[in-house]
């Protein structure tokens, strides 16, 4: 198959799999097989694409908005470039891990509406592929909305009053910001540049003055509600009512990363880092990101609910990536791109562990975890590794991306931001490390001994989380290939 066809196949495959999942709703085993097989196929397809990425294969499906004299027609179209491919690779790889995990989780938890769950999950992955391979802003916007809509049933999976309230917050913020901010920004870009195509070096250069560029960037940054920049972060903790696999894949990998990926892609391919670096239009965004980064970490410290703490941690880590884009140097942008991978791997492990703790020990709060490490050694070992990676300590993958980001602040001479990065790392230690420490070194409370079901979670849950934790370590040694892979995006 030609690379062009592969791209289209990558987007369609999860959607087809969603249809098959619905068709097999009577037979759970077949249904889960469909999910796993398509996960494997997808990874293979995306993997094959990495070989041909240098040629930048691109394909337009159909013109949706006819062009006029000043403006080019806009098509639904896809292309493959390193940043998107990396994102697709992460998402498809982790889809398999999550699928295995969710089968274990959903079955041992006896959840309702499993078909709807797996179907929406597949659609969401399809949307992520669409975002990753989008050739222009319109295509990206389309799949961005599909992602929002398809994850709504996942967030409100339990159907309780609380879930519905959270669902409304989720949908309200994501839909609201995307329509008022992102859509408007896209239209404005179309007016200014006459095209919406992602091009190396940007399309806005020469069409905007720094002030307009700053305003437009603000529309993009706040319009992408999925990036959870403060003050638009409320949906992320709210969405933690979802079942843990959903939180794991969607709110550590797919949804939030789709947000920061959008911002990165806009920064690199619409504005162009030259334009951002030269005009200083993105300076304000650095400070917004820094503020988000610090305050989210501080809030995370105060949260006792494990998933909520992880959610605030995610908000803080997303701000790293936005910061990387707004610094607009080569190393910071690549650092941001790399952080997508590193953080995805780390955070999904942390969420898997949170879910495993819920399934194995029925605990949701940090304060309940005393002594649990002895009963669930694998889970907590994985948690420790992932936490170290998120904090950014060697020999975990996370240290490289943070290193590159710090390098970026130095290149730009933004010393205060360097300080912010360092303080934030300390805060990361402060809110993440107590969890394994409590589990391993504190005595378990007396009463808990008799309660049944306190052991490791089912194997289907434990194996994926060990694998992703191992991934965090492996990534430490893979940093250079990723760097080389990404470095071509900053060229014109």
């Amino acid at each position: 198959m030609s690379p062009e066809c592969l791209i289209v196949a990558a987007v369609l495959l999860p959607l087809i799999s969603a249809a098959l999942v619905v068709a097999c709703h009577q037979r759970p085993n077949l249904r889960e097989t469909v999910t796993l097989v398509s996960g494997g196929l997808l990874l293979a397809i995306v993997g094959r694409l990495t070989g041909s990425v240098d040629a930048r294969p691109a394909i337009n499906l159909v013109d949706v908005i006819p062009g006029s004299i000043d403006q080019a027609a806009i098509a639904i179209g896809f292309h493959a470039e390193p940043l998107g491919l990396l994102f697709a690779l992460v998402a498809s790889g982790l889809w398999i891990a999550t699928s295995v995990y969710s089968i274990g989780y959903m079955r041992s938890h006896g959840e309702q509406h499993q078909t709807r769950f797996f179907c929406c999950f597949a659609v969401a992955i399809g949307a992520v592929m669409g975002i990753a391979f989008a050739r222009n802003l319109l295509t990206l916007f389309l799949f961005y909305e599909v992602l929002t809509l398809s994850t709504y049933p996942l967030v409100t999976h339990h159907g309780s009053e609380a879930a519905k309230r959270a669902g409304r917050t989720y949908l309200g913020i994501l839909m609201g910001t995307s329509i008022v901010g992102l859509l408007l920004a896209i239209l404005w870009t179309w007016q200014l540049a006459g095209t919406l195509e992602f091009k190396a070096g940007g399309i806005l250069d020469g069409h905007v003055d720094p002030l307009t560029a700053g305003l437009l960037l603000a529309l993009f940054a706040f319009g992408t509600g999925k990036a959870a920049l403060m003050p638009l972060h409320r949906w992320l903790p709210a969405a933690m009512v979802a079942p843990t696999p959903v939180s794991a894949l969607l709110h550590a990998v797919a949804v939030v990363k789709a947000g920061v990926f959008t911002i990165l892609k806009v920064g690199v391919y619409i504005f162009g880092i030259d334009l951002l670096g030269r005009g200083g239009s993105s300076v304000w965004l650095m400070y917004v990101a820094a503020a988000t980064l610090l305050s989210a970490s501080l809030v995370a410290l105060t949260r006792d609910n494990l998933k909520e703490r992880l959610a605030y941690s995610t908000i803080s880590q997303l701000a790293y990536i936005v910061l990387g884009m707004s610094l607009a140097t080569k190393s910071s942008v690549i650092g941001g791109g790399m952080h997508i991978v590193m953080h995805a791997c780390g955070k999904i492990t942390l969420f898997f562990c949170a879910g495993a703790i819920l399934v194995g020990a029925h605990k949701t709060r940090v304060s309940q975890l005393d002594g649990l490490g002895r009963k669930m050694p694998w889970t907590f070992a994985a948690f420790t590794i992932a936490a170290l990676s998120v904090i950014g300590l060697p020999p975990m993958g996370g240290c490289w991306s943070k290193w590159l980001l710090a390098l970026g602040t130095v290149e730009m001479g933004q010393w205060p931001l360097l300080a912010v990065l360092m303080i934030s790392s300390l805060l990361n230690v402060a809110y993440l490390m107590p969890i394994p420490l409590r589990a391993f070194f504190r005595e378990p409370p007396e009463t808990d001994d008799e309660s049944p079901g306190t052991g490791e979670a089912p194997l289907a849950c434990v194996i994926p989380l060990c694998l992703t934790a191992a991934g965090c370590v492996v990534l430490f040694f893979c940093a250079d290939p990723i760097y080389q892979f990404l470095s071509s995006i900053t060229w014109k």
């Binding site: 908005i65 639904i76 159907g159 839909m175 609201g176 329509i179 408007l184 239209l187």
Partner: protein, 514 residues
């Protein structure tokens, strides 16, 4: 008989079919005949649009009785008219083809032939408005369409329909009388009723229009600078705004659409206000002209705020409605705001957006009302409480509703997105920042009111837990709803027809020439 006769056939076919329906009497016969007629109308409209779109002049003209244009009555159709006719007849054909099934619950069988006769009369009136090039003819056809729609609405099942029809009758009559005054005053100053001729004479000076020897105070004054013409314009605009249900003159619309038989709401929601919008375009652009409407009078300073108010206020009201049909009706008022907003920009891009939205919204809203009709065949209640869990009971029906709802919001790949895209980019192009922001805010409100229905249907459990097996609406009805809503998907992806035609139509309205 050749293709030249099409413009008149478009009008007299349904007009003469109406009395035939009256004579046929039997419900099934009358229905079959009406379907046949409406399908032929669709065919005629499609052929006409094809001819117009590929002709050099971009319009066709037909002189009734063989009398030449300014003296006789001329039928004139350009791209805009062709597009409106196409959507009008398409909706009529789809609606009529399922009308008999929908009427079973709502109108006694022995009155069906009356219903079909009135329906065809309404179709004839609406087609006539679009086809004619004579201003007084517009009034006559407007009244034919209005009178028949009052009758159609009053056939609703509940007694509220009677009150709604009466309110509509009073407001509609005031509106059309205003239009009549406007036409009279314009005729008084120019001595002609032919639109093209009128447009020409309005820009001439008084002495060249009046007979020689008439004593005129200020002979060099252009006709359109006289106070009489200003008054004529005001009366016409206000009258049309009433027919169009432009905020704040929309009071008749929600009651009428919510109480009429669903088949009538389906037809009228997609057609009657759209045709009124067509007339407004004709009056403001073709007859009075850009310079007069937007330069001398400054209509945009009135229409833009009203349109925005319509979008925001009506959408907000829609959020608080408990009945699906009222939600859709208020949404219609809001969508009319988008139409008028496009007009009020007075740019080619804005007009294009308005015309495209006319086309798209007609399909969407008719489709949505048809879905409501589908629901009504299976259960009595149409409130948000009574449709709880309907997503499971009527999956295909509610899926159609979701498609239409996404279109109303303007999600990509639906036709609603295209029109909103064009509208917002038209606003940005002419530097109307605030307007652009308010338009997207309006979409946000649409998210909320559509979501309330979707949430009720899919994510709320019904009160009585007797979840029966899936039981969708009858296949024919469902197919019809999917035809209309499927069309919104198709025109959301293949946009060449509506956008291409609308662009050229807008160009000729602006006097640019394509």
């Amino acid at each position: 008989m050749n293709l030249e006769q099409l413009p008149i056939l478009q009008v007299i076919l349904p007009l003469l079919a109406a009395p035939c329906c009256l004579l046929l009497r039997r419900s099934r016969l009358a229905w079959g005949f009406a379907v046949l007629v409406s399908c032929s109308s669709l065919l005629i409209a499609a052929t006409q649009l094809h001819i117009i779109h590929h002709s050099a002049s971009g319009s066709i003209s037909y002189e009734i009785g063989g009398w030449a244009a300014p003296w006789g009555i001329e039928y004139r159709l350009d791209r805009l008219g062709g597009l409106v006719l196409l959507v009008l007849t398409a909706i009529a054909a789809v609606t009529l083809s399922v009308a008999r099934r929908l009427l079973q619950e709502e109108v006694p069988e022995e009155r069906h032939h009356l219903f079909f006769a009135t329906f065809l009369l309404c179709l004839a009136g609406l087609s006539g408005i679009v086809s004619t090039g004579d201003l007084f003819n517009v009034f006559v056809f407007l009244e034919i369409a209005s009178l028949s729609s009052y009758v159609l609405i009053s056939m609703g099942r509940s007694r509220r329909a009677l009150v709604a029809a009466f309110q509509y009758l009073v407001m509609g009559t005031i509106g059309s009388t205003f239009i009549l005054i406007g036409i009279g005053l314009a005729y008084m100053m120019t001595g002609t009723l032919n639109m093209a001729d009128l447009a020409q004479r309005l820009t001439m000076t008084l002495d060249s229009v009046y007979a020689e020897g008439a004593s005129i105070e200020n002979p060099a004054l252009p006709v359109n600078q006289t106070r009489t013409i200003l008054a004529a314009f005001a009366f016409l605009t206000v009258g049309l705004a009433l027919k169009l249900a432009l905020f704040p003159l929309h009071a008749w619309l929600p009651n009428a659409y919510a109480t009429a038989p669903t088949v009538v709401s389906t037809f009228l929601a997609g057609t009657s206000t759209k045709v009124a919008y067509y007339v407004l375009l004709r009056v403001t652009f073709t007859i009075f002209g850009l310079a007069f409407t937007f330069g001398q009078v400054g209509l945009q300073f009135l229409l833009t705020p009203l349109a925005i108010m319509a979008i925001l206020v009506a959408s907000t009201i829609a959020i608080y409605q408990g009945d699906i049909r009222r939600i859709l009706a208020y949404s219609s008022v809001a969508q009319i705001g988008y139409l008028v907003l496009g007009l009020s920009f007075a740019t080619q891009a804005g007009l294009t957006a308005g015309i495209v939205h006319l086309f798209n919204h007609a399909l969407m809203k008719s489709g949505l009302f048809l879905v409501v009709g589908c629901i009504a065949t299976r259960q009595a209640g149409l409130t948000l409480e009574s449709i709880r869990g309907l997503g499971r009971r009527m999956p295909l029906t509610m899926a159609a509703f979701v498609v239409g709802g996404l279109g109303l919001i303007g999600v990509p790949l639906t036709s609603g997105f295209i029109s909103k895209w064009l509208l917002v980019s038209a606003a940005l192009e002419s530097g109307r920042w605030l307007v652009a922001v308010l338009v997207v805010t309006g979409s946000l409100l649409a998210v909320v009111y559509v979501w309330r229905v979707v949430e009720a249907a899919y994510f709320l459990e019904p009160d009585d837990k007797t979840t029966s097996e899936p039981h969708d609406a009858p296949a024919g009805l469902l197919a019809a709803a999917w035809v209309l809503l499927g069309a919104t998907l198709v025109f959301g992806i293949y946009t060449d027809l509506p956008v291409g035609v609308a662009r050229e139509a807008a160009a000729s309205l602006m006097g640019v020439g394509s």
